[in-house]
């Protein structure tokens, strides 16, 4: 380690910028990594981490600035070129063929023709040396997630990389498996390979790395000694202090509960899904409850469980809707239609193909969430007039701008379609509105409009559960805040008093 630190810089970025249209994904980033160094790249969703490493791996080209590899200018036009230079990358989602063996999957990634027997020997030798033993003849489909990750890692190692990029490698692992992985990474670093470790888990970053580069909104905001900083300081750097100054909403006093969730659990369905662990939550009338969290921590799974697209069949779980002047309604076994009938509205994260269908007209799209209403369809007959009229009301009241009369949903811009799918639910004056990422990818004007509409619904006595990765959004309109991390929901905090640092810690799993 001592020697390697004295060596020169392996990879350097000077003033690297990347734009997608008007959006600045990376803004003049300076960056350097030395051989044998384990460096953490830390940031929220959308901070620009992925864009940055994609440029290093040759998947994207920088618009401004340049990369230098061992002090020589580096221009990559493909990942293959990057691999030839000695840059390897282990992706968060693996790309292995399930029906092939370990050896076959590895052979596919290597250039040129290989002697199968020698390759098999090499796999056994290398994998044992790094303490991640693999049988070259195992069928990939039979391997566990961590074993599959080992195949991915070994695939990189066989190309003798000088720099290994690992994109949130522990997100699919158990704590024990993660510890094994850290041993491998440390061993790699000792042998002189630089490791760029992308993560948002603060305790891991502190444990594994000495240095952390923190990105926020496309800019490098800090380059710090990760051992000296506390998890709280790292969280604050990651989240930034802008959100601390946002004027918060204060929770309405003495409000009655609208929805009580208890003991909601869900096993992970696939290797890249998160399991929900004993979710407990109460939302009151007249408030917006914001659920913050970094993408992939169970938001999708929670949303499905709330809409009824996935149903918890366990005996203990409960989702109880409290109605005014009516008996409470147990929703846990109900599908989406029954939940809507009970007075709940939903806006899922994905507009295209989930909340709306691009190929269908707007009036047909209203039917997706109104078909249980008697005026919309009765005796299986669809009332076209009702649908057109309802779509017209949405477009008028929610300022949806149309290119033509009753266009296909695909002809609307993202912001207008989002106003439409949000308006479709709010117009029904639901007792409870559940929204996920309500302003993701929409223009500022539409975002403000949607946030105001949700606040108005809350003022009128409705309750809103808002799942969002946008902390600014969470802080500016929530009355109370909870954080989801790795399928666990934190307790609920008053938005007026919780600090940004506390939210950052909870998001990083260190709260």
């Amino acid at each position: 380690m001592k020697q390697t630190n004295e060596q020169g810089i392996l990879l350097e970025a000077r003033q690297v910028s990347k734009y997608f249209g008007d959006f600045v994904a990376n803004d003049k980033i300076d960056f350097a990594i030395r051989p044998g160094e384990i460096l953490a790249l830390l940031g929220e969703n959308g901070a620009g981490k992925s864009t940055f490493v994609k440029m290093i791996y040759g998947l994207l080209a920088p618009d401004e600035g340049a990369f230098y590899w061992q002090s020589k200018p580096l221009t990559l036009s493909s990942p293959q070129q990057a691999r030839e230079m000695g840059i390897g990358m282990v992706f968060q989602h693996f790309s292995l063929f399930e029906m092939l063996t370990v050896a076959e999957n590895i052979e596919l990634a290597l250039q040129g023709v290989h002697d199968r027997e020698k390759l098999a020997e090499l796999i056994v030798e290398k994998s044992t040396a790094y303490g991640i033993p693999l049988n070259p003849d195992s069928l990939t489909a039979d391997l566990s997630v961590s074993q599959r990750q080992r195949v991915e890692i070994l695939r990189c190692l066989l190309q003798d990389p000088k720099l290994l990029i690992m994109d949130e490698p522990t997100s699919v692992l158990t704590p024990q498996e993660a510890n094994q992985l850290f041993d491998v990474i440390e061993q790699l670093a000792d042998s002189g390979c630089a490791v760029l470790f992308i993560s948002h888990k603060l305790d891991e970053v502190k444990r594994l790395t000495k240095r952390a580069v923190i990105l926020r909104a496309g800019q490098k905001v800090a380059d710090v000694d990760s051992k000296k900083q506390s998890a709280g300081e790292l969280a604050a750097l990651m989240v930034g202090d802008e959100v601390a100054h946002i004027k918060r909403q204060s929770a309405p006093k003495q409000s009655l509960p609208r929805l009580s969730i208890s003991a909601l659990s869900r096993p992970a369905e696939g290797p890249f899904n998160v399991s929900l662990k004993q979710i407990e939550l109460t939302v009151n009338q007249g408030e917006i409850l914001g659920i913050a969290g970094i993408a992939g921590n169970g938001q999708t799974e929670l949303m499905d469980a709330l809409t009824g697209e996935w149903i918890d069949k366990s005996a203990t779980a409960s989702i109880l809707l409290h109605k005014d002047r009516q008996a409470d309604i147990e929703l846990i076994r109900q599908g989406p239609t029954e939940r809507r009938r009970a007075g709940v509205g939903f806006v899922p994260e994905e507009r295209n193909g989930h909340a709306a269908i691009g190929e269908l007209s707007l009036s047909e799209n209203t039917l997706l969430t109104t078909h249980h209403i008697e005026q919309a369809s009765q005796y299986d007959l669809v009332n076209d007039n009702f649908c057109r009229d309802y779509a017209g009301q949405i477009t008028q009241k929610f300022d949806v701008r149309l290119p033509s009369k009753n266009p296909q949903a695909s002809q609307l811009s993202g912001g207008n379609l989002q106003k439409f799918v949000v308006g479709r639910e709010i117009l029904k004056s639901p007792d409870l509105l559940v929204v996920s990422q309500p302003t993701w990818g929409v223009d500022i004007g539409a975002a403000i409009f949607i946030r105001k509409a949700m606040l108005k619904l809350a003022e009128e006595g409705g309750a809103v559960i808002m799942i969002s990765q946008d902390l600014e959004e969470i802080f500016s309109i929530s009355h109370r805040i909870a954080v989801i991390n790795n399928g666990q929901l934190s307790k609920t905090y008053d938005a007026a008093t919780i600090t940004a640092q506390k939210v950052g810690l909870l998001m990083g799993g260190a709260g």
Partner: protein, 367 residues
Amino acid sequence: MITLTPRRHVAWQLTLLIPVIAVLITILAGGVIFAVLGYEPLETLFEFFIKPLSQPYQFGNLMVKACPLIIIGTGLVFCYRANIWNIGAEGQLIFGALGAGLLALSFPDVTSKWFLVPMAIAAMLAGGLWAFVPAVLKVRFNTNEILVSLMLTYVAGFFLDWLVRGPWRDPMSFGFPLTPSYGDGALISGLVLPGIGRLGQLHWAVPLSFVVAFIGWFVMRHTLTGFQVRVIGNAPQAGKFAGFKPDRVTYGVLIASGGLAGLAGMIEVSANIGQLQPNVSFGYGFTAIIVVFLARLNPVAVIVAGLVVALAELGGDAAQISLGVPKVVTGVFKGILLFMLLSGETLTHYHIRFGRAQTASRKHQEG
């Protein structure tokens, strides 16, 4: 390397034009094939597409030929709209013929035409049952309905073959693989048009096929059932979000299309053949697939498309008789037509680029 990138918007005029262009190119290609085979292209095309319509009675025969295609096609529209690829309508047709045949042969002495009603019901149940097999396998075990339904077609064919050679064979048939002829009540009569009289083989089930197509259009366009089929086929996730049940749609469309194919089988036997024999269909179940694509998955357009494809079938017969053009040419025609339709479909929805696949960086800049 060829890369396909989806187009943002597809003009609706193009959607209408594609089938017309496909038919024209097919006719053109047909002319070339005739020339290569040594036939006078124009004369043969005339023989193929114009001659079969030169006499009024031939219109009747054309509609008779189109009748099963329209009925089967209507059912397949529902399947394909739901993204369920039932390729086994031919087998479901055979089972329908068997279901109706069981009744007809069990009660040979019935003379009332009302007997056709229970026969039609039996045919639809039997056809639906045969389509239920791929449905249940798909829902339970996620098997591929294309393979299962196609393979079951051959099972149905052999089952019919065995029945007419074995247990159901007419003892008086001098060893021919035929069942006894159906009784009067089990036969569909010819249709006498007021003022015109009989028009070729035209029978009562022809107007019924038009009614079926219109009902199909109504269900697809104006009912929640049809809406569910379109939603699930288009975006399954949106369907689940709406609270629709994809499995139920899979069962529904397969059983409905199987039932309609079965009805077509019963009509074919009761109107045209009069008894069961090893072959009860001229591949209508397969030809209907082309009809459905020509109709762009619209039940009313299935009527027109059914007539166009039926014309090619009749033309094949006529050209074989008058000029000795091999009957297989009809099959080639159908193949070219389907190919043209599918490529037209692809070209309207995608840009095609030749050359090496571009790197991600450049794609991003374009996007």
